[in-house]
């Protein structure tokens, strides 16, 4: 088991290295020019552009730039911005010349907000999705089951951005029964309470998939021979459904959960934008659309990649605890 985990981590690290190189090449060796974005209204004369490039170190060979970036990730580095020298300590994700801030500070400052939003949404979609899915499966074919499947399909089919916008409009603006979002600096209470509205809409919409998935898994599991065996023991119906049925039905749900959480933890672009949640998604969108701030974008991409790789390993390990037939070797 230990060897398996070590191997998975080694594999994960190699995936991260490849991602690092590829994103670096895309962002820093591609046609985008960070120097351009620093020019007011993009109207710098060529000489001025050249000066900016030199001051940012962009005139040096790409290999040197990459080595510098790579070094920053592990031991930190000094970055010169204009006349000032900033020490960027490891893990240094670069420097946003646009905001005159270190990327790692910007990213890690917003990470807790994104994590809290993702976890709150998970509570909603697992709670609602799994419990409704189980009830629908145990009452298969009933009016409740049909209504639920119908509603979940309709909601799953409406573009998320429409649902989220309407929800935000009705419940935080027109009828403000749910609190507005607040930055973390306003204190823990307002911050976490403000995340309730986006977590509810994100969780409910995500739960439509979990209702259908849990229901399908439960229907399948309840028809298994071992569930019949469980019933033949004379244990209670609840025990049959939850202990014997749900336990087996949920293990495939775990895989989907891992993927979904990786997605949510790397930033929920639409939700954060609509509810003005100051998380990774909003940071990335702002950097991408408004300021063309490549170091910030690359920082969020790298963090997202780490999250995906890490959650994949976590899911594999969790699987071996849930299903004894899965041997980690």
């Amino acid at each position: 088991m230990f060897i398996y985990i070590a191997r998975r981590i080694a594999l994960g690290v190699s995936v991260l290295l490849v991602t690092l190189v590829v994103t670096f090449l895309i962002f820093f060796a591609g046609p985008a020019d960070p120097a351009q974005s620093l020019c007011a209204e993009n109207r710098c004369p060529a000489v001025k552009l050249e000066q900016i490039r030199t001051s940012m170190g962009l005139d040096r060979p790409i290999s040197v730039q990459f080595a510098e970036y790579f070094q920053g990730l592990f031991v930190g580095r000094d970055i010169t911005d204009g006349g000032n020298v900033n020490h960027c300590s490891a893990p240094c994700l670069g420097y946003s010349f646009h905001n005159h801030l270190q990327v790692s500070d910007e990213v890690f400052r917003r990470f807790p907000t994104t994590v809290a939003l993702a976890l709150l949404a998970m509570v909603v979609f697992l709670g609602v999705g799994v419990s409704l899915g189980v009830v629908a499966a145990t009452r298969r074919g009933s009016a409740f089951d049909r209504t639920l499947v119908g509603v979940s399909q309709v909601f799953g089919a409406i573009p998320y951005i429409v649902v989220a916008l309407l929800f935000a409009l009705y419940f935080t603006v027109l009828y403000p029964i749910l609190p507005q979002t607040h930055p973390f600096s306003d204190g823990f209470g307002p911050w976490i309470v403000g995340l309730i509205a986006p977590a509810i809409v994100l969780g409910l919409v995500t739960s439509t998939a979990y209702v259908r998935y849990t229901r399908a898994q439960m229907v399948d599991t309840l028809a298994q021979d071992y569930v019949r065996t469980a019933r033949s023991k004379g244990i209670s119906g609840r025990s049959v459904i939850y202990k014997h049925g749900l336990r087996a039905a949920l293990s495939p749900v775990l895989t989907i959960l891992g993927l979904d959480m990786a997605g949510l933890l790397s930033g929920t672009l639409i939700t954060e934008q609509i509810f003005s949640v100051d998380g990774l998604g909003k940071l990335a969108i702002t950097a991408l659309i408004q300021t063309d701030d490549l170091p910030i974008i690359m920082g969020t991409v790298l963090l997202g990649c780490v999250i995906v790789v890490a959650l994949n390993i976590v899911v594999d390990i969790a699987y071996s605890f849930v299903d004894p037939r899965v041997r980690l070797s």
Partner: protein, 354 residues
């Protein structure tokens, strides 16, 4: 292994009732399902008894209603889709129309079932000992430790070596034969008066089949319970059964003592079943399969359900086989058959010597 160490203290000595007592009485049982094609008459007008210390073999092809009738003994059918009429009395309790709560109390404690495929019948996520202990705790107010001891003891009784270690393993770590032994241990953990074994050897290797049958036989001696063995394998019947009930298209067609029925079948269908069994000892002869296939239980043939496949219709005057359903009647030799033939024993024995 002494039964005195059993935490339940239950053993054949404490058992009320003695060998030969009727523990299960099925009378005029009919089971019908709803299906897309129409109502499925899975079982019709079925009556039989199971007695302590005896093994009743229920024999028939797939779809003859043998598994369905046994599922109703545990109330494991879907109540919404199934209509059951008639009467099933288990140890004095009427099961037809009984509440789910009543059935739950009887499952495993009065009637237990060993299923066909041990591969899929044990829960893959739980340790074998735990699964057996769970059934024990459902009917006994004991601690987990006591139930575990009982589970280990049951595993030992069904001949699993190293039972304490095996109890802590998962089903996938067991071989097919060992898994079926564990299923039997699970079935017997509450010392039920009736054990229903639904094709318990079908999914196993031939060499293991004999071991499992011997085990069921031995345990029946030890526990003194009644056993209903559902099978399509007549070799299995010959090995362990005392009584035999042959079913065709949801109805009983022949009932009698196993050794008599097997040596001298009185119903053309039983005869056909016996002739389609290859014999290892006798000289190679042409096997005679019953022509055709079992009928759909939604569209049963008119008259005798077996008539489209029967070679003896011409021996019955008129078109009675096609028009009239034969009643189950008692022959002078004590056998019960559902057939219009006046003297089936004579007709069928002529056939064999032909």
């Amino acid at each position: 292994m002494s039964t005195g160490t059993s935490p339940s203290g239950a053993s054949i000595r404490d058992r009320v009732g003695s060998a030969g007592d009727v523990v299960l009485k099925v009378e005029d049982l009919s089971v019908r399902f709803a299906s897309d094609e129409g109502p499925v008459n899975a079982v019709q007008n079925l009556s039989y008894e199971a007695r302590l210390g005896r093994t009743l073999a229920v024999v028939g092809e797939s779809g003859s209603g043998k598994s369905v009738s046994s599922m109703t003994l545990l109330g494991l059918h879907n109540p919404k889709r199934t209509t059951i009429t008639g009467s099933i009395t288990l140890d004095g309790t009427e099961l037809v129309g009984a509440s789910e709560e009543t059935m739950r109390g009887l499952r495993s404690s009065s009637v237990a079932m060993v299923f066909q495929d041990p591969q899929s019948s044990l829960h893959p996520f739980f340790k074998v000992g735990k699964q057996i202990a769970e059934a024990y705790r459902a009917h006994h107010h004991v601690s987990a430790a006591v139930a575990n001891t009982r589970a280990v003891e049951m595993l030992e009784r069904v001949g699993i070596p190293n039972p304490a270690r095996r109890a802590k393993q998962y089903p996938h770590e067991f071989s097919g034969g060992m898994r079926q032994r564990a299923m039997i241990a699970l079935g017997l953990v509450n010392d039920p008066k009736l054990l229903v074994a639904d094709e318990p050897t079908t999914a196993l290797d031939v060499t293991v089949q004999a071991q499992i049958l011997d085990l069921i036989k031995d345990l029946q001696q030890e526990f003194g319970s009644a056993v209903i063995l559902i099978t399509h394998d007549l070799a299995v019947v010959a090995e362990v059964a005392d009584d035999i009930l042959v079913m065709y298209a949801g109805r009983a067609v022949e009932k009698g003592l196993a050794k008599h029925v097997l040596s001298q079948p009185n119903h053309p269908y039983t005869m056909g079943l016996l002739e389609s069994v290859p014999s290892a000892s006798e000289e190679v002869q042409e096997l005679r399969a019953i022509r055709g296939a079992p009928p759909s239980l939604v569209y049963l043939p008119s008259g005798c359900s077996f008539h489209p496949r029967c070679d003896y219709q011409d021996q019955v005057p008129g078109e009675r086989c096609v028009t009239e359903l034969p009643e189950l009647r008692i022959l002078p030799n004590g056998r019960q058959i559902r057939c219009h033939l006046v003297d089936p024993e004579r007709v069928l024995s002529q056939e064999t010597s032909r």
